[in-house]
Symmetry: C4
Subunit: 213 residues, 4 copies
């Protein structure tokens, strides 16, 4: 990077990403609107709130997954020391996927019986996972933006583990084509897939990698 | 923490939390929509605005409580020097509670006569208070993330005082089961409960702890 | 301030305030919704957009005033070196006023012929101005939070000039009681009032104070 | 700049701008609402989602252009070392243009057949481009806010290249007056215009300038 630049630059990239994650995660609740009761009574309100249950569940799931994606972003950017045009654009595509999340969340919360809604929802997280992998492969590979002091083993393990979420999303979509009830199984396989992709994970107990679990 | 990481990491956790608090606190006003008048006149607008009074009050109360929660978050993170996976996840659960606040605020502003709405509103703040306590107990206990130079007395006092808000919320919910009019009494007891939990508070006058009062 | 605290603390206060300002200023445009045409044609869209003109004007005015308030906040916090509970709470009240701005903006953009809407709009900015003055008087007075190296003359001049906006808002409200057409005159007097309150302003040309003009 | 100020000040300007960009870019998705089906079926949902295609496209285009504007803002602020009142106001005008983007995006996504909607959409980005040029010309010229160590050649090249987007927007608007189908050609000319304005760009391969491509 050019020496003429101020040190603020790289921080801005991280900061901007953080802000997008924070806004997305906070906008999710806006999809849940207070119910409109035809007849005002506490009992009616209770029933109306029960009817919102799929939205509450959708909110919590999307919040936690987006939070996990932030933690993953956080994790890879701890090792990245510099940036260039390639990283900025790849990161922007990742943020595009993240900022899209409120739409499939709203859609799936409303049409939770719909295969299309499920596939769009799952594909959004899968795409964000792939974009994250793209950022990391670029930064640790061609872009050469990872600190020279970072252990090559850590780099490889992050790459392999980053495949877990996209793979699980792909499986969930495949399962949903057979039966929508089978589909969540795909997500349940995430820990197993992560273990298969990174068999040394548990044993090594490196604190730097232990962060997501 | 691994020495290979940049110093940016911990700041990001704090920053991300701040952003979520700031967005929640600013979204609260969006629940108040300009009234739609059937007949346009200044008098009608005045009446319509008076009808929005519960929403204005709900906005101010939720704003101040969320602001207080931010100050409390601020307070505990002044003593936390490091983070790990456990802190990230607990903090994420705290942010989940915080980001949920706009929904019960909107609900309670509209159905202020409803016990259910009151309980959901109060429980949200109580849950956020418990999550904060959870973060603090982990950071100061098992996680061992608090600076070694931090006075053990301060650590204990923060833990005890953090119980005040969840306890008051619990009391307010209990009171509301008897009568909704009695319920705000629970909140009025916050200073008393805080005093009981931390009897040396006033006398000691430690600036670091004096921040929330 | 306690030496045990990390240096991150004060930055967080400033950061949190910045985020609230940024969110408010960006939410303003959400009040302008694309028109719904009964008959689709470019001519109809043109007329519908012309009908949105008061909303566009309201957006630009509120954006610039909120931006000015941010610059003013920025200006006083350049001299503040530390914080305590008193500052946090006063700053929170200032942010409450700022975060309220989207509501009167939406109201006044829709009911621009209404005295009530005008008064609420003007009073919001006046209240924010007073809250800012409150923050500054506390920080530079009792709170003793301003750097010891800051010129006392600058402190006094900021205090006096901070009165300009609340005074102008008060005048505009008074004028509006006579005639709504007269009311904007109050704002036109801001530069004059600022000059009267701080007669040495122009001549001195201190860069630090020149920031808002 | 006055020596009495804390170093936090300039960071705040950059931070505030970043936050506005991040919020705008994340709000864009809120314009896409889940469709309301009259008859609930997966097939109906598929058709309804297809009908949202112009909104999805509008979302992605506006996201990428706003992201590009952020990268450009990022780029010029890497060379700016200081700020004054002139920069703050010009930057605020730039942010005004940026924060307006969600409205023309929503309008154009809904009325994509309308010349007016296209012109407003294009003019918004053109205005933001001009405002960015205004910020840069001031900072690198009269304001004298660019680091003394920054190469004059870089300064000039940024100025010239900053004309590319406003010029392309102007061309696209001109083309749209002839035919709306011709209009996107204006944008397709951006790389060509950028090359004409900065013929040495590719060859020089200065990393600092290479960032946007």
């Amino acid at each position: 990077m050019n020496q003429q630049e101020s040190g603020l630059s790289f921080e801005r990239v991280v900061f901007f990403s953080d802000a997008v994650f924070a806004i997305v995660i906070t906008l999710l609740v806006l999809e849940i609107k207070p119910p409109h009761l035809e007849e005002l009574s506490n009992t009616n309100l209770n029933y109306a709130l029960l009817g919102l249950l799929p939205k509450f569940i959708g909110f919590v799931i999307s919040f936690m997954i987006t939070g996990l994606m932030w933690i993953e972003h956080h994790r890879i950017f701890r090792y990245i020391r510099d940036y260039d045009a390639g990283l900025l654009w790849r990161n922007l595509v990742l943020l595009l996927c993240v900022s899209f999340v409120p739409f499939p969340t709203a859609l799936f919360s409303e049409y939770y019986w719909s295969r299309t809604a499920f596939i769009l929802y799952t594909a959004s997280f899968g795409a964000a996972g792939l974009a994250k992998l793209w950022v990391w492969l670029y930064a640790s590979g061609k872009g050469n933006l990872v600190g020279a002091d970072v252990d090559k083993v850590i780099v490889k393990r992050i790459s392999r583990r980053s495949l877990a979420v996209p793979l699980a999303c792909g499986l969930a979509i495949l399962f949903s084509l057979i039966s929508l009830r089978l589909a969540p199984l795909g997500f349940a396989l995430i820990p197993l897939i992560a273990r298969l992709l990174d068999p040394t994970g548990r044993k090594a107990k490196r604190p730097a990698l232990g962060i997501s679990h």
